[in-house]
Symmetry: C2
C-alpha cells in the first residue's frame, strides 16, 4: 500500500514572469485535489501557505464541509476534505509526515517542463508500492519555485499530451499524476 502524501504550495511559487510570489488559495483546488486524493488513497493533502489570512480562508472552507452545513449536504465530500491539513511551510508538512509515518518522506517535485534527472511514472509507481513514504509537491500559479525543485529528492516527468502545449491546471495535473501513480490500470 503506497504511503503517498500531497502538498499544494502557494509559496514559493512563480508568476508568469518567473518571479517568486505567494499565490491565493483557490476554493476548487481544495475540493478537486481532495476528492482525487481520496479516490486514489492518498494519506494526506497539505495546503501550504505562509499567509495567515489565506490559512484562515482555507480552514473556513474545510470546516464548512467537515462540521458545517456541507457535511450533511454532501457527506462524501467530508471524507475528501478530512484529508486536508493546512500548514505554514513545506517544512511543516514534511515534519507532519515524518511524525505520522515514523520516517521522513521522499519529496517529489512536479513541473510542467522536463528535467534531466526526472523520474518517470512507472519508476515512481514501483517504489511507491514498497518503499518509504513520499510527499508529492504541486505548485499553484505558474508552478514551484526553482529552489523547491532543486531541493526535492526527485522531479517527476511532466504530463505529456499530444504536442508541445502543456498548460494544465494544477487540479487537472494532480488528477492525472495520481491516476498514473496509483490508479487501477485498464
Amino acid at each position: 500500500m503506497a504511503r503517498l502524501y500531497i502538498a499544494l504550495l502557494h509559496h514559493p511559487v512563480i508568476n508568469r514572469r518567473g518571479e517568486v510570489i505567494a499565490a491565493a488559495v483557490t476554493n476548487l483546488d481544495l475540493h478537486d485535489i481532495a476528492r482525487a486524493a481520496r479516490t486514489f488513497g492518498v494519506r494526506g493533502f497539505f495546503v501550504v501557505t505562509p499567509l495567515e489570512d489565506q490559512r484562515g480562508f482555507a480552514q473556513r472552507i474545510i470546516d464548512h464541509w467537515i462540521t458545517g452545513p456541507g457535511a450533511d449536504h454532501i457527506p462524501d465530500r467530508r471524507q475528501a476534505m478530512q484529508l486536508i491539513r493546512i500548514t505554514e511551510s513545506l517544512a511543516e508538512a514534511v515534519a507532519a509526515v515524518t511524525t505520522a509515518e515514523g520516517q521522513p518522506p521522499v519529496t517529489v517535485a512536479t513541473a510542467a517542463r522536463g528535467y534531466p534527472q526526472a523520474i518517470d511514472y512507472p519508476s515512481l509507481r514501483g517504489v511507491l508500492a514498497a518503499d518509504r513514504p513520499h510527499l508529492l509537491l504541486l505548485g499553484t500559479a505558474w508552478g514551484l519555485a526553482p529552489d523547491v525543485i532543486a531541493a526535492a529528492d526527485h522531479v517527476l516527468a511532466p504530463v505529456a499530451g499530444a504536442g508541445g502545449y502543456n498548460h494544465l491546471s494544477v487540479r487537472s495535473a494532480a488528477a492525472i499524476i495520481l491516476d498514473r501513480l496509483l490508479g487501477q490500470r485498464g
Copy 2:
C-alpha cells in the same frame, strides 16, 4: 491521429436525488477541460446547455479569453478556449462533428458507476487511433441522465481509484480520461 471531441452536458443530468435537471455553467469547468483538451489534442469541446442565459454566460467567458483582455494576459489560454463551441443540445453537437468530419461520431458516455456493456480504456484507445470520429460525453452535477447513457454507442468504464470512493469532479475525471485515452505513456 485520434479524432476525438468532448461534450460537457449541463442537461439532461441528474442531481443528488437522481432527478433530471439543468445545471449551471461553472467557469473553471470551461478552463480546466479546455486546457486538458488542448493538451491532449482533442478537436473540439462542446459546452451544451438549453438555457439561453447560461449560453450567454459561457460565451462571455470565452470571448474574454479569445478576443478580450485575457487574450493578451495569458495567450496560451486562448488556444485552449478556442476549442469551445456552445450548443443548445447534444444533437446540435453531434451535427457539428458530423459536418466537420464528414461522418457522424461514435458517442461514448461516461459514468461514475460501471455498466455491464462498458468499454475499457485500452479498447477505446485502440479504436480512437484508427477509427471513426468519437464524441465523449461528460455530465455536470451528479452525472449524465440515464437516457443519455442508454442512447450512447458506448459507456466508458469508470475511473477506478484505490477503493470504493468515486467522487471525482468532472474536471478531474475529464483530465484522467483524456490522459488514459490520448496521453503519452511512461
